[in-house]
């Protein structure tokens, strides 16, 4: 465990410098346990891929590194139970039609798999949210079929439409807003990934299990109108 200050009001408690799924799962449980300690000077507990960040209230008078160590060690000492896992499964309808699957053709060329095989492999896989970050509702997921692992696009797209599901290497991301991005777009969901008016603004949370359910264009339009 290494701790580095992110300025004087946040500290990053790191457990791994490389992606390790067991460490990642521990980090997510630890974040829940640290949050549950209810320290009044903590504003945000943010689980990331290999560690967690603790953000402090500006009125905090102590040393953020030693306070973070104390909180995390306290949580570890009390034991992190697997029952702290959310164990929630989010099913995401995805339309893989060409108008949404902007890079399916290219993925097909790179992997040598047919369009149908790619959709079959992508939609039968079990995924897990490894980290929320970059933008509100933006999820990084692990669990992609290694046969679908393709590098990022050489030239990022200026605009990746909101709701796009994209893959690169062995990860999947979802784009909550239309932004530029270099991942290979494999389909699109009609669901709003982030809606500030919703009880749960973000469709995903760290640790969620995710499944993708193929839908046709008509179903996509129906769900898109509903939102």
């Amino acid at each position: 465990m290494g701790v580095v200050p992110l300025g004087d009001l946040a500290a990053y408690v790191e457990f791994s410098r490389t992606l390790d799924l067991e460490v990642n799962a521990l980090v997510q449980r630890l974040a829940v346990a640290v949050q549950a300690r209810g320290a009044p000077y903590i504003r945000d507990v943010v689980p990331a891929l290999g560690g967690l960040a603790l953000h402090f209230d500006p009125g905090f008078e102590g040393n953020c590194v030693s306070a973070a160590v104390e909180l995390v060690e306290g949580a570890l000492k009390d034991g992190i139970s697997v029952s702290a896992d959310v164990l929630r499964t989010v099913t995401v309808p995805v339309c893989y039609e060409p108008e949404f699957a902007l890079d399916l053709q290219e993925i097909s060329q790179k992997t040598g798999l047919s369009r149908e095989e790619i959709i079959e492999r992508h939609s039968t896989g079990g995924y897990r949210v490894l980290m929320m970050g970059f933008a509100p509702g933006h999820a990084y997921m692990g669990g992609l079929d290694p046969k679908l692992a393709v590098p990022r696009r050489a030239t990022p797209r200026a605009i990746v439409p909101a709701g796009s599901i994209a893959i690169a290497n062995e990860q999947t991301v979802v784009y909550p807003y239309s932004i530029s991005g270099g991942w290979n777009v494999i389909g699109r969901t009609p669901l709003a990934l982030f809606d500030p008016e919703r009880q749960e603004p973000s469709l995903f949370a760290s640790g969620d299990r995710v499944r993708f359910k193929p839908i046709d264009r008509a179903e996509f339009m129906k769900l898109a109108v509903k939102r």
């Binding site: 992110l6 490389t18 990331a48 970059f134």
Partner: protein, 332 residues
């Protein structure tokens, strides 16, 4: 109600930010200079958490439907009253008459000012805050910067509050007061000195690059915004070649993308990032950096975590003393 005659460069509603949502990727946002926002609020008798207008480099022209107690704090603007004619005094309470117009003009020192009104704006909080999050198009006034013709709603009791509070001020001169609240965040000269801690990946840069980071007078690039300040100067090449695992970022993180031009993350920053973090700005100095306009110059000085905490304490105590002084003028 306040009518927007001209919106200025980027005028948006901001408060002290929304917290507890970084784990779903939403940054706290809020005022780029929360110290100036707190002062503006205190000067009209509001709690420091109330929302105000954040005005950037080129200010708006606004018309007040009814008599309104306002205060403008932070960057200095060549502000004027086109109607009734006169100059707009800053960093103090001003009772704008019904039908009065103010024109902020261009910033002469600093980049961001906050215009607070007695009682605040009648806008619903979104996820616990009235701050405008422009990339997500929510919060504040319609989730966006102000436009020509917008009508900003004030609280129903705004007129009574304005009169009652102005009436309570111990010392008055015409429609304002004979004193002003000095700024904590405006610099007398540039380059400003900003204190930083070594970032998580500082050691990934070789000694020459590390030295260049501290020796350079950096300029705030023109494509800087509420998300981040791009810093123009020498390009910083990372020596280590191993891939960096995406990790959490923070307000004031200085990261170095592949092109070597560092970016200081500001209020609307991303919550995680995969670029090496060369430095972390002391929290007390972030609002001072936020007051640099494009072209503004900054020099980084290394400090320890203890010193950064000391700077934070010093700023907090100075601001609290000033807030007490303003409350005293209101007879509190």
């Amino acid at each position: 109600m306040i009518r927007v005659l001209r919106p200025g460069l980027q005028t948006s509603v901001q408060d002290q930010g929304r917290y507890g949502l970084q784990h779903i990727g939403l940054c706290p946002g809020g005022a780029m200079d929360p110290v100036a926002l707190s002062l503006a609020n205190a000067l009209v008798g509001n709690p420091v958490t109330e929302a105000a207008l954040e005005i950037t480099v080129i200010g708006p022209e606004l018309e007040f439907e009814s008599e309104t107690l306002i205060a403008v704090c932070g960057a200095e603007f060549a502000g004027s009253f086109p109607h009734p004619p006169g100059t707009l005094p800053q960093s103090r309470p001003v009772l704008v008459p019904a039908g009065g117009r103010i024109n902020l003009g261009r910033a002469s020192r600093g980049a961001r000012a906050y215009l607070a009104v007695a009682g605040g704006f009648d806008l619903a909080p979104v996820l616990g805050s009235r701050s405008t999050y422009i990339p997500g198009a929510f919060g504040g006034f319609k989730g966006r910067a102000l436009r020509h013709g917008d009508a900003l709603p004030l609280k129903a009791d705004s007129l009574e509050l304005s009169r009652e509070r102005f009436g309570r001020l111990k010392r008055k001169r015409e429609r304002s007061v004979p004193w002003s609240a000095p700024s904590h965040t405006l610099a007398d000269r540039e380059p400003i000195v900003v204190h930083v801690l070594e970032g998580q990946h500082f050691a990934d840069f070789d000694a020459n690059v590390q030295r260049a980071f501290f020796d350079t007078v950096w300029r705030v690039a023109s494509d800087s915004n509420r998300m981040g300040f791009r810093l123009a100067g020498p390009l910083l090449a990372r020596t280590a070649t191993d891939e960096i695992l995406s990790g959490p970022t923070c307000l004031g993180t200085v990261q170095v993308p592949a092109n070597g031009a560092p970016i200081a993350l500001m209020a609307d920053h991303q919550t995680t990032g995969g670029y090496p973090k060369i430095a972390e700005i002391a929290s007390a100095d972030v609002p001072r950096l936020a007051q640099l306009a494009p072209g503004g110059q900054v020099h980084f000085a290394k400090c320890s975590l203890e010193m950064a905490a000391e700077l934070r304490k010093h700023t907090r105590e100075a601001v609290q003393a000033q807030l007490r002084g303003i409350a005293w003028e209101y007879g509190n």
